[in-house]
């Protein structure tokens, strides 16, 4: 465990970048430092590997004061990833990744074999091994940065806005990849970002910092969204905090209607039987059960259902796997106001109205409140548990 104990950093010009910060960074999880520009995130991160030395306070790693270890040994036990990757432009990709193992005295072949392994792990084609950094895209360079940091299998990974210089789609890919790698390797990761969405997506614990280097709140993301400590945190979380919070509510409990679903080859009797009045529309599926679109029961003639007659059903959500946020999003985007739920194979599992989703949300809130009343601590642990669902759900998007 990394323990930051009332640490202050005052730069020579008098700037107080970090002010009596105390944090306990749990092992084998992602702790995110988030906050506005200049609030001392980078300074905090760099104090952990001693690129910046604290003015006051102590930082311990597994109980040992980091000032008591040789600085370069400490640094080689911590991977470090930065914005724009900071690759060595004069070395090939494979040699970039092999840097730390080589410094640790590994033989050339062993280090390169290890580097090759890591390229695969971070999703880089082995054909890129002999290239130089300028021949890679920004997203690929960032992957190399991550691979290089992981090369000597350090227990700790420090990441300073590693994904902020790439476009949103690439960033999402890199985030998903990081979560996957973390699941496999279980590193202790300290991740700096100024993007609250990234913090909520990646963090097991999130530390919100405010200008002047103060800690505003340290909590799991679900708790942060439910219970911001003060107006600053609430403001920082943004106006759609309520919607974002829905990511942490599973859609498993939603009551799905299966009655208003007909196959494209349905007979007149089947159509009539399905038009029970539970829903104003019928969902038409293909012969495999995959949703095609919506239609009013009166518009459907047996044997003559054509796709171009149907109202598009938009993106469905995966029942049980995705969150209430995804379900609500589908319902809001659907022209009929009804969301389509599918199973893992993409076959229609049921339909659900905005109203039903709204009731489920109210129910989930009430449940959380009741939990919170009986045991405040438990709430945070619960949300940590449900966090897994949240991330896989978001990964599935």
């Amino acid at each position: 465990m990394i323990r930051i104990d009332s640490v202050t950093k005052r730069y020579p010009d008098g700037t107080v970048a970090v002010d009596r910060l105390s944090l306990e960074i749990p092992d084998r999880s992602i702790t995110v430092l988030v906050g506005p520009s200049g609030c001392g995130k980078t300074t905090t991160l760099r104090m952990i590997n001693r690129m910046v030395e604290p003015t006051e306070g102590t930082i311990t790693l597994d109980g040992v004061d980091i000032m008591k270890q040789p600085v370069n040994t400490l640094r080689r036990s911590m991977g470090y990833v930065i914005q724009n990757a900071g690759l060595f432009q004069h070395r090939t990709i494979i040699d970039n990744i092999a840097t730390v193992p080589r410094m640790l005295g590994w033989g050339k072949d062993k280090a390169r074999a290890r580097a090759g392994e890591l390229m695969e792990r971070v999703g880089l084609d082995s054909a890129l091994a002999k290239r130089y950094p300028y021949q890679l895209s920004g997203g690929q360079q960032q992957r190399v940065g991550v691979a290089r940091a992981l090369a000597a299998d350090p227990p700790v990974l420090l990441m300073d806005e590693p994904f902020s210089a790439v476009d949103p789609i690439v960033r999402k890919g890199l985030q998903d990849e990081l979560l996957r790698i973390q699941e496999e390797l279980g590193k202790t990761i300290v991740f700096v970002t100024h993007d609250i969405d990234e913090a909520v997506k990646l963090g097991t614990m999130v530390a919100v910092m405010r200008t002047g280097g103060h800690l505003a709140q340290f909590a799991p993301p679900a708790e942060l969204l439910t219970d911001p400590a003060d107006a600053f945190v609430e403001d920082f979380l943004g106006a759609d905090r309520g919607i974002r919070r829905l990511s942490f509510f599973p859609s498993a409990g939603l009551e799905l209607l299966t009655a208003p679903i007909v196959a494209v080859d349905a007979t007149a009797e089947q159509i009539a039987a399905r038009a029970t009045g539970d829903a104003p529309y019928l969902l038409v599926t293909d012969l495999d059960g995959k949703p095609l679109g919506w239609a009013e029961p009166g518009e459907l003639t047996a044997g003559e259902i054509r796709q171009d007659q149907l109202l598009a059903c938009g993106r469905p959500f995966v029942a049980g796997k995705e969150s209430l946020r995804a379900a609500l999003d589908c319902a809001v985007l659907s022209p009929t106001g009804w969301a389509v739920a599918v199973d893992g194979e993409g076959r229609a599992a049921g339909v659900v109205s905005q109203q039903t989703i709204g009731e489920a949300i109210r129910g989930a809130h009430a449940e959380r409140r009741a939990d919170g009343k009986t045991d405040g601590k438990k709430d945070s642990r619960d949300s940590k548990g449900s966090k897994k669902d949240g991330t896989t759900e978001k990964a599935a998007r």
């Binding site: 690129m51 370069n72 040994t73 400490l74 470090y80 724009n84 060595f88 004069h90 730390v100 130089y132």
Partner: protein, 228 residues
């Protein structure tokens, strides 16, 4: 044919001998300048306040005419090659120091931070990261310094027989022989072009990692591509 390259006996060298002397007198000072400039530049990068005075001193030294250097040096080093080479070495600093300082400073901050974070000590970081990345800009400085040194060697004729191709030019004028003048001028120019080309070659060998756009027109690369 051999008559074309016949030299007046007072020059004490064959044409090839003069060329080799010229090359030595021009390039040894640049090499010496590089050896001085590298640590000096690193010092200027580390201690920012040192850079302006160092730059100022190299500029003032460059402004001193070589004749003045010769007058002072001749008491110590006599009419030797060394007397010619010392001022040339000093002159090369005016190009090399700023070239190296700029080159080292232009290494991206992230790269340096990444190196430090990986546990590079200062010396290892300088040798394995800063210097290789700065190499192309340093070589660009060396090209300017070498070519200017090649043209400056000729002033060595002021202290007797140390001007190499410069002395040949002088003889040409004294004996009123156009052939010698041409041999001197063309020889100097060809030498400068060849040395420049050699340095470009060195840079290409040292920097396979540079984006192609910046070295598109080099014959070596086209040849390599053709060989594939």
């Amino acid at each position: 044919m051999s008559e074309l390259f016949d030299m007046p006996s007072d020059l004490q060298h064959s044409y090839l001998g003069l060329v080799m002397l010229h090359l030595r007198e021009a390039l040894l000072p640049v090499l010496f300048g590089l050896l001085v400039a590298l640590p000096l530049a690193q010092l200027c990068v580390r201690l920012r306040w040192l850079y302006p005075p160092v730059l100022w001193i190299t500029t003032v030294l460059y402004a001193i005419p070589s004749l003045a250097f010769f007058v002072i040096l001749i008491d110590y080093t006599g009419q030797s090659e060394l007397t010619v080479m010392i001022p040339l070495g000093v002159y090369s600093l005016v190009v090399l120091v700023p070239a190296i300082v700029d080159a080292v400073r232009s290494v991206p901050q992230e790269t340096l931070a990444a190196a430090t974070a990986m546990g590079f000590g200062p010396v290892r970081r300088y040798v394995q990261v800063q210097l290789p990345i700065a190499a192309p800009a340093i070589i660009a400085g060396l090209r300017v310094a070498s070519v200017s040194s090649i043209s400056l060697v000729s002033v060595g004729m002021l202290i007797g027989n140390q001007g190499a191709l410069g002395n040949l030019l002088n003889s040409g004028m004294i004996y009123n022989q156009e052939r010698l003048i041409w041999l001197s001028v063309v020889g100097t120019a060809v030498l400068a072009i060849l040395v420049d080309a050699a340095l470009i070659g060195v840079r290409i060998l040292l920097t396979p990692w540079m984006p192609r756009g910046t070295r598109k027109n080099t014959p070596t690369l086209t040849a390599k591509a053709a060989a594939r």
